[in-house]
């Protein structure tokens, strides 16, 4: 025991110093990870594995909502039908302002026979920030979806029209208030309330 005590003190500074070094290295490495996480996700977009690309498209807006590089990196994926709906959702989450040709690609999703494409397209459009002529084009192509047999599509259309619509679309939404489903009626009523011009208080 006495021998141990005699040995221990000279080792102690070394042990403590080593521990500090390890902690410092760990911190530095964690810091590096957080700094390059966005770059790593953007680099994942170049992967040959479609699942990795889709994961990156999903993760980028959630983890790096303030990213200044992501929109430019995501936009080319609108050209690829495999990734279009995921790219559209990501760009909508970033509230991107896209060129008209890119908006047309997203509008193309609204005609899909796959309901998931349509709902993702509507959610993407909801997030975009576009000038009035483009918004008018979007609204014009959304209105027929209010008569879609799929209730989820009708509800998402109401929500997107509530964001981008104008009082002129209210007559197209009003018939939905007669639908038997309460959730459709609620989304229709919410959209009408959002679009109805509010009287200016004096």
């Amino acid at each position: 025991m006495t021998r141990l005590l005699r040995i221990l003190p000279p080792c102690l500074p070394g042990v403590i110093g080593g521990a500090w070094l390890l902690v410092a290295l760990g911190c530095a490495s964690t810091g590096n990870h957080s700094a390059s996480g966005e770059d790593r996700l953007i680099a994942q977009l170049a992967s040959s594995d479609p699942e990795t690309v889709v994961d990156a498209l999903r993760d980028l807006p959630g983890r790096y909502p303030q990213s200044t590089n992501a929109v430019a990196a995501i936009r080319p994926f609108l050209q690829d039908p495999r990734y279009r709906r995921h790219a559209a959702r990501a760009l909508g989450d970033y509230h991107a302002e896209l060129p008209l040709d890119d908006v047309r690609l997203i509008l193309g999703l609204l005609g899909s026979h796959d309901s998931n494409d349509v709902t993702d397209g509507l959610k993407a459009l909801r997030g975009l920030r576009e000038p009035t002529p483009v918004v008018d084009l979007m609204v014009q192509q959304m209105i027929p979806l209010l008569k879609d047999p799929n209730n989820h599509i009708v509800r998402d259309t109401c929500r997107t029209l509530a964001v981008h619509g104008n009082p002129e679309v209210i007559p197209y939404i009003e018939p939905l208030l007669q639908r038997p489903r309460w959730d459709v009626k609620k989304d229709a009523q919410d959209a009408i309330d959002a679009l109805r011009p509010h009287p200016v208080e004096r």
Binding site: P81, R104, L107, G108, L110, S112, H113, V118, M142, P144
Partner: protein, 204 residues
């Protein structure tokens, strides 16, 4: 040998065949196209008369898929009640009409359908119905000059199916056809070629 003996003998001979599971099923499907959502009506498109001609160049033209049993064996054919090239041409016509294009022979859109076939991918709990589509499209002026040519491939998937029958193949085939045609109309060069073939400036 009397009649009852002949019947018994025939029954005896048929017994192994009945037990072998050799059953043949033919599913007939009605392919349909219901456009969803709106389309952008293009300015000046009404003055561009377009004619569509689709040629069926599929290697197998008799069926659009096979019915599969629980063991993955083919037990019959899936037949389309419509002529497949007419069906694809009808989708193109509907999409052109929705964008405001006219009908006529000033601009010719030729298509060669090389693939339109469904296959079933069987899983442990459920399977997928996967349809492949391939179409070569060209746009010609009335004098025959080709202004646009491109091959489009697409896939349509009806996921999580329980039976490998015609109705699931129909859903996948309809998705594949739309996906392919949608890619064509998403190509700005195709629209530009239609205008160019009519001697007009494409819209911005």
């Amino acid at each position: 040998m009397n009649t009852s003996q002949i019947a018994s003998l025939a029954g005896l001979l048929l017994l192994p065949w009945l037990g072998s599971g050799c059953i043949h099923i033919t599913d007939e499907i009605d392919l349909a196209y219901e456009p969803r959502g709106g389309r952008e009506v293009l300015s000046g498109a009404a003055a561009i008369p377009v004619q569509i001609q689709i040629m069926d160049q599929r290697p197998v033209q008799t069926d659009v898929g096979k019915v599969i049993n629980g063991f993955g064996g083919e037990i019959g054919e899936i037949l389309s009640n419509q002529d497949v090239s007419t069906y694809i041409g009808g989708i193109l016509r509907t999409e052109l009409d929705a964008r405001g294009f006219g009908t006529g022979d000033q601009v010719k859109v030729d298509g060669k359908l090389t693939t339109f076939y469904n296959r079933f991918k069987m899983g442990f709990w459920a399977g997928d119905s996967i349809a492949d589509f391939a179409l070569d499209v060209s746009v010609r002026q009335s004098d025959g000059t080709v202004l646009y040519s491109r091959n489009f491939t697409a896939q349509g998937i009806e996921p999580n199916i329980q039976v490998a029958r015609g109705h699931n193949a129909k859903a996948a085939l309809e998705k594949a056809a739309w996906n392919g045609v949608n890619e064509l109309f998403q190509d700005p060069k195709f629209i530009a070629a239609l205008y160019q073939a009519a001697g007009k400036e494409p819209p911005q």
